[in-house]
């Protein structure tokens, strides 16, 4: 069974040591997903698997056989920009841009987690069915994506604007 990358079926590497990150970058030439720490600490390699955010550096590609992976390249339809990408530009959500693809993929899944009612470390009422998307919630939920340029405030602004209906 192949793996689907941005809606295209691809054959998996024969060597099970190949991480999903290296598969994307070195085998498929999808360089949008970045290799930061390569040990699960920075979030630069975040991609979506069946809509869930994961770290592709800690994933073996073979583990994701039959699954649907979405990278930054597959986020927007027909070569344009996703509204969140546009908002990152408008709010200076980056300087060097290295963490940006991971940040953006992370946000897309994070918003779905909030809609589903997944609690976070700062959620006060665990029994509530809905979680308010406050600044504190955003900061906590995005803590797995580091930005060494210090663009976090712009990132939070970009998220807040794009998902205004969910934010408070």
């Amino acid at each position: 069974m192949p793996i689907r990358i941005n809606r295209v079926e691809r054959g998996l590497p024969n060597d099970p040591r190949v991480s999903l990150l290296d598969f994307l970058r070195e085998y498929l030439g999808l360089h949008g997903t970045k290799k930061g720490c390569n040990q699960g600490a920075c979030g630069a390699c975040t991609v979506l698997v069946d809509g869930e955010r994961i770290l592709s550096c800690l994933a073996l590609a073979v583990q994701y056989e039959g699954r649907a992976v979405t990278t930054i390249e597959g986020l927007a339809a027909s070569g344009g920009l996703h509204p969140l990408q546009q908002a990152f530009i408008a709010h200076d959500g980056f300087q060097c841009g290295y963490c940006t693809p991971g940040q953006i993929c992370s946000v897309i899944a994070m918003v779905e987690e909030v809609k589903r009612g997944v609690p976070s470390h700062v959620t006060k009422d665990l029994s509530a069915e809905t979680v308010p998307l406050t600044h504190d919630e955003l900061r906590e939920r995005m803590s797995g994506n580091l930005c060494r340029c210090g663009a976090h405030n712009g990132i939070i602004d970009a998220i807040t604007e794009t998902f205004a209906e969910a934010a408070q």
Binding site: S106, P119, L126, S143
Partner: protein
């Protein structure tokens, strides 16, 4: 990474069969194992992927829950029965790692993750009795601010890194196991070992014995429970000290209590002595502090982690005080 073969198990029997006779390791989300393999600290010749095994979270007749070992950490944390009946478990899980890692990590893998002791990871430069038995431990006389204060030995002062496991220890969880010799269950608090002179042996599991599920017994007063983690950053850092606690009051008297600590020992530390000291006592800060003292009387600090004793004392007291002030 050392070469290995990869196979995906369809069920627990298949997993054990696939792992037999070789230097195989079971693979969950890979968030710890893949990293350790990349560092060549783990060198299995085969990986048996067990993420396709039981992942359901089921109600049990006795009012408890049975959580499949392949359940992802996020799935456990967000489950409404866990959030409402065992809130300390949700709190512990969401205090750990990042959302991405919680989406990948399985319950079984979380339990069997290895210490983040920097000397354990430093394969090229440091001695470690876990990595290489009888080699010596560079943490004992090294920079040991994050290391153990309870139950350590002259062989190893590493801590168990999991948050989730601290809640499981407090909740009297039961581990369901399967091996070639059959099925068995084990109290969660008896799964992990203290280091003694064999720190490389971290659990009582037999070779290729598989964790299939975690059972949470019914514990009605766990509705009044929480988890507090003290760490160097506001988010995404391992615990210096963590406390999982549930409190049952009768009037202003402590009828029952569950208490476990993280960041203090080679295993998730159930605070039996504190619990015993607290039952039947008035629910006051004085009694909470005395209970903490009872547990921490055995603490043996290293050069850099004396602060953990007072930090544990204060965190235990604060958490119990918080629970005493909250209506169930």
């Amino acid at each position: 990474m050392t070469p290995f073969t990869y196979a995906r198990a369809v069920d627990a029997v298949d997993a054990i069969r696939l792992a037999s006779g070789i230097q195989a390791k079971y693979l969950g989300g890979g968030t710890n194992l893949v990293d350790l393999m990349r560092e060549t600290i783990e060198r299995p010749s085969a990986l048996v992927d067990v993420t396709g095994l039981l992942s359901a979270i089921e109600e049990r007749q006795d009012g408890g829950l049975l959580i499949g070992a392949a359940a992802r950490n996020t799935a456990v944390a967000e489950h409404i029965a866990v959030r409402t009946r065992y809130p300390m478990l949700t709190r512990a899980i969401v205090a750990g790692a990042s959302a991405q890692i919680r989406n990948m990590a399985t319950v079984g893998g979380n339990i069997l993750q290895r210490t983040r002791c920097a000397y354990f990871y430093d394969d090229d430069g440091s001695r470690c009795n876990k990595r290489q038995p009888s080699q010596g431990c560079d943490a004992i006389d090294g920079f040991n601010r994050v290391h153990a204060i309870l139950g350590a030995s002259s062989s190893c002062v590493a801590t168990h890194p999991s948050d989730m496991c601290v809640a499981l220890a407090a909740l009297d969880a039961v581990v369901h196991l399967k091996s070639r010799s059959g099925d068995r269950t084990l109290p969660f608090t008896e799964l992990h070992r203290l280091p003694g002179n064999r720190p490389e042996v971290e659990t009582v599991l037999e070779q290729h014995e598989l964790i299939t599920a975690i059972e949470l017994p019914s514990l009605p007063f766990a509705r009044r429970s929480t988890y507090r983690k003290v760490r160097d950053r506001a988010s995404y850092a391992f615990a210096l000290i963590s406390v999982a606690a549930a409190l049952e009051l009768e009037g202003n008297t402590v009828k029952d209590v569950r208490l476990a600590l993280g960041g203090v020992a080679h295993k998730p530390w159930r605070a039996w002595k504190a619990e015993a000291a607290l039952r039947g006592q008035p629910a006051t800060d004085h009694a909470f502090r005395a209970a903490a003292e009872a547990e921490l009387a055995d603490a043996r600090p290293l050069r850099d982690n004396v602060f953990k004793i007072e930090l544990a004392r204060r965190t235990i007291t604060a958490v119990l005080s918080q629970l005493a002030g909250v209506d169930a």
